[in-house]
Amino acid sequence: MKGLLRLYPRSWRKRYGAELEDLVDRTPGGVGVALDLVIGAAVAYRDVIGGNRILAAAGACLHGMSVAVLVQAIGFVTLILIAQRSENPTDLRLGPFDFATVTRSGYLLQGPELRSPVTVLPLIIQGWIPEAALLLVLTLALAAVLAAPRLLRGLR
């Protein structure tokens, strides 16, 4: 249990470490206490980062980049979801800039038995399920990342 105290910022440990260590010694260990210590460490970091202008800006920078990565991942899966319905290549372009192209693989288009809707349709329908699941997971992750600063601010 005492190992969790190392999660706290060094400046915080210097000031309150001995006091908290004593408190942990006198408290019977358990999952609840461990969770309290982890949440306490998050709050301590929030206070240290929020109290310094440069650190706050650096934290916001990392947060912004995480959001951008998740948005791009959602865009990628959405592009796949849209493109697999089209028989023609799907281009993602803006003016002269061609960002990405999605084409159906040749093996689906070769041979009359493979080309028939009876063969291709189940593949397309099956293809929707993992993509929709991925999209759902990514959207939930984005919502969690967007809500994280507010949730952290609400912790005491």
């Binding site: 206070d47 202008r53 916001a60 990565v69 493109a83 960002f99 192209t101 689906l108």
Partner: protein, 95 residues
């Protein structure tokens, strides 16, 4: 001189953070390639990075062009920079 050093350090840190974020995005794309059975080709300044699952044929071929790769890096960098600038300007000491 110290101001110059601080500015260069900030720029380097920003670029490294964006590179790490892009590596995370690449990791996600590798995962998607495996789950969605894609044949993925990423173009980076005349070089090609190709990924496809070994055991099953790929249903879709996805090509990310140079503009896409550079645009993704720029978007990540701009998002980080924008969020940092916004927070820096609106920062107030904790009361």
């Amino acid at each position: 001189m110290s101001r110059m050093t601080a500015a260069v350090s900030a720029v380097l840190l920003l670029v490294v953070a964006a590179a790490v974020a892009q590596a995370g995005l690449l990791g996600l794309l590798v995962l998607f390639t495996s789950i969605l059975r894609l044949y993925l080709v990423i173009e980076i300044a005349g070089h090609y990075l190709q990924m496809s699952p070994l055991d099953v044929p790929s249903f879709l071929q996805v090509g990310i062009r140079n503009a896409g790769t550079i645009g993704s890096f720029v978007l990540t960098l701009a998002s980080g920079l924008g969020a940092a600038a916004y927070r820096y300007r609106r920062w107030r000491p904790v009361s």
